[in-house]
Symmetry: C2
Subunit: 146 residues, 2 copies
């Protein structure tokens, strides 16, 4: 809480970067080794799967994923090209569109999850006790608060 230099604060930052990098590399490598799409695709497909067949608007996705509009636009292009989602015109607002997951998209997401989950467990759970996991989750939560 002080404004003076604090060694532990710097260390939190460097450890945060290293830990995220290490876990992410492991997860992406596991997906690639299983011939599955990248993690960014999973995030999109998960959200679309949750809202079901009525789909959602891209600007709604922006908020849950941490992507700017132009970046999401191109990501959706690629996922749509692979046949995992459809883009439909939006009747309420002709500027926008509705994106909805396809059967093929649901299927690939289901195949991704076990690989993803196992990689998360290996990156996180293997290093911590149950109680440490809980503490870490709470502390990281504080960093995210506005």
């Amino acid at each position: 809480m002080t404004t003076e230099p604090n060694k532990n604060v710097i260390e939190v930052w460097t450890h945060l970067v290293s830990a995220q990098h290490k876990a992410l590399s492991h997860i992406e490598a596991a997906l690639k080794a299983a011939n599955l799409p990248a993690l960014s695709w999973y995030d999109v497909l998960l959200e679309l799967d949750r809202v079901g067949k009525d789909g959602m608007r891209p600007y709604e996705l922006e908020q849950s994923l941490l992507l700017p509009q132009y970046s999401l636009s191109r990501l959706l292009d690629r996922i749509a090209s692979a046949g995992y989602l459809n883009r439909l015109p939006c009747k309420q607002d002709a500027r926008g569109q509705i994106i909805a997951i396809t059967c093929k998209g649901k299927e690939i997401r289901q195949r991704m999850w076990p690989v993803y989950e196992q990689a998360i467990n290996q990156s996180i759970a293997k290093h911590l006790t149950t109680s440490e996991t809980e503490s870490l989750s709470k502390l990281l939560g504080k960093l995210i608060e506005p």
Copy 2:
């Protein structure tokens, strides 16, 4: 430590991504707003500044930074073009080279640090007590261990 699905483990992962993303965005934005180079340049310049005027070999830098060889090679290109480091032939091993920070490089690194530090403090210290900071540092440390 279990192999069964654990809600907190997933939450640690998602919070880790969000927290790192939030802090990184803030830091990069602060550097850009001050018309300073990106964070990746700082990491290189800091290592070079530490070893002093004798410089170091690129493959040594690879280990401290989390970059593959080809990625570092291009990063060094850019930093050298800006005049912040010199590439010198290596007499002991003609395959390699020595990279050393320039005066201009030292200067820009010194100008980057206060901006960087303040952004870290705003991203981390503002959200945590001293004791929480210490705990978080230790817990994140466990994730990095091999």
